[in-house]
Amino acid sequence: MKPSIEDYRKIVGDEIIDELYLLAQKLKGISIQNINSTPSGGGVAEILSRIVPLMQELGVNIWWDVMEAEEEFFSITKKIHNRLHGVDIPLSKEELNYFLEVNYQNALRIKKWADIVFIHDPQPIALIKMKRKLKNRWIWRCHVDFSSPCRDIWLFLKKFIEKYDVSVFSAPIFSRPLSIRQVLIPPSIDPLSDKNKELEPRFIDEVLNRFGIDKEKPIITQISRFDYLKDPIGVIKAFRLAKKYVDCQLVLAGGGARDDPEGEKVLEEVKNEASSSRDIFVIYLPPNSHLEINALQRASTIILQKSLKEGFGLTVAEALWKEKPVIASCVGGIPLQIAHKYSGILTYTIEGTAHWIRRLLHEPEYARRLARNGKQHVKNNFLITRHIQDYLLLFLSLFNESDLVYLD
């Protein structure tokens, strides 16, 4: 059973929950519709599947629609995604036209529109064309690292973005000069979801046994989709450098998302790279393997997130919430979650990652201190209740222009 909003009182306190009810009350009579491109897999679908029911429980008239599209659409949006990250992958005019056509077909298909349409990521961005007819308010939420996009794709998307009433970015570094308002809303994790809740030690042991992982030997883990931008090969190289000095195991675990057709190719490469080592576990998990991911994180000695590019990098917050020492790349939203040497370790290279794996394995007390501070930081800033509060304020701000808003 999914947790109720009331269940969060024991984690964040009464005051926060009472304020959420009050804010929700102020949205009476206003409907809100979320639209994204995938019902499962990936951070966006995951957070929507938690936030929408909780907001409904608070009394907000909110729902979530998913785009309908063929595989071809997702391989094009994957290219758009890569070009937004600054990766120079060819993208033809015909492909962009097909992208627009799928958006147009979805605009015709959706029959029920809300007072506020909340679009997530670039895939459904062109639905904004409906605004002229509907005369309602539109929000575009960017979950992607926008810090150094290829110019052509930025200009293509910008035409659409500037038609929205407001845009939302996860980190200041993603913000760009735009003619519309830009609001900062970091993403969040749900402490009561299967992925983050407390687990029975017996279950954790059972998961380790299932994959043949040795409980007695240090476990270094990276949880992420099999994607070049998460640098799984770099993780293996860092692990091998560290393993020369400390006996340990590496777990690379993750699933795929419907909108990421590249995943299988990357998985094959990672398996080849790892095939010669008995201490490397490459685990491809089906969607919704949240309990297994939770168990693998909880069983880990150190958690890595060695991404080359990141949106926000929520797996870092998940690991910190479980009070684990984290070594992560200083990219995207990760520096917002980790203050170097205070709540985790930030690195830039394979060698640096290897160096810190060794240090933290040799200095467990220091590693524990990093983990404790990290958990506190996540509690203050990256839990789902803070995210819901930010969204409620975002909706209210569409009807209040002033920078001082009285909600008496």
Binding site: E15, E19, S147, L178, V183, L184, Q389, D390, D403, V405
Partner: protein, 211 residues
């Protein structure tokens, strides 16, 4: 006499899409930024670092010191006594004056590393009522012990500088209630040198002396 109704507030952070990579660009950014941006960059730390004492009391000094490596200038900006200002515009002028003097004496500009640019933010605040109301000093003390640090923050910092009342809400109400001396003591208290919990304790002790 109206009772004192404690309020609280929640902040929405906005990105202005404007960046600076050296002192000259920071100067220009501060000159053009809306007052809510100057307020945000000089007050954000008060709540975010509520568990440990912050090394840098404003974002400008943090960036100048860490991303530009200009320690002397960073310290000068950090040492601006915000409590002396009851108007954001005067505070802005003070920062501009310091940066202008620096620019006059340092012809070579130092740029930060790519991706480490200063990013201008601003904030919009939503003010909400809390269940706490006081009609006399005893009730006021009870409420002070219970309200959140966000409520305390709103009545002390935001009321004075952002709502342009030139004084904190507590002092205004206490003065009307006839406690002029206590009100003056609270007005003179420099809240920027306390943590929020430390500030709560200090105010409670001052109030207790008049019961």
């Amino acid at each position: 006499m109206q009772p004192f109704h404690f309020h609280t507030r929640i902040t929405q952070v906005e990105l202005l899409g404007k960046t600076a990579k050296n002192v000259k660009e920071l100067y220009e950014g501060i000159k053009e930024a809306p007052p809510s941006s100057i307020y945000h960059h000089t007050h954000r730390y008060l709540e975010q670092h509520r568990y440990f004492s912050p090394e840098h009391p404003n974002d400008f000094s943090y960036w100048i010191t860490n991303s530009l490596g200009l320690k002397k200038l960073g310290e000068k900006i950090a040492s601006v006594d915000i409590f002396q200002f009851s108007d954001i515009e005067d505070l802005r002028k003070k920062f501009l004056e310091i940066l202008e003097n620096f620019l006059k004496s340092s012809p070579a500009l130092r740029n930060c590393l790519p991706q480490e640019e200063f990013r201008f933010l601003s904030s919009r605040i939503f003010i909400l009522p809390t269940p706490y109301k006081a009609t006399n000093l005893v009730e006021f003390l009870n409420c002070l012990e219970k309200v959140t640090i966000h409520s305390l923050y709103f009545h002390i910092f935001e009321a004075r500088l952002r709502l342009k009342k030139h004084d904190n809400d507590f002092s205004c109400w206490l003065r009307d209630l006839g406690y002029k001396e206590l009100a003056d003591k609270l007005s003179k208290l420099d809240p920027y040198t306390y943590t929020l919990e430390g500030l709560r304790k200090k105010i409670i002790n001052l109030v207790k002396a008049y019961l």
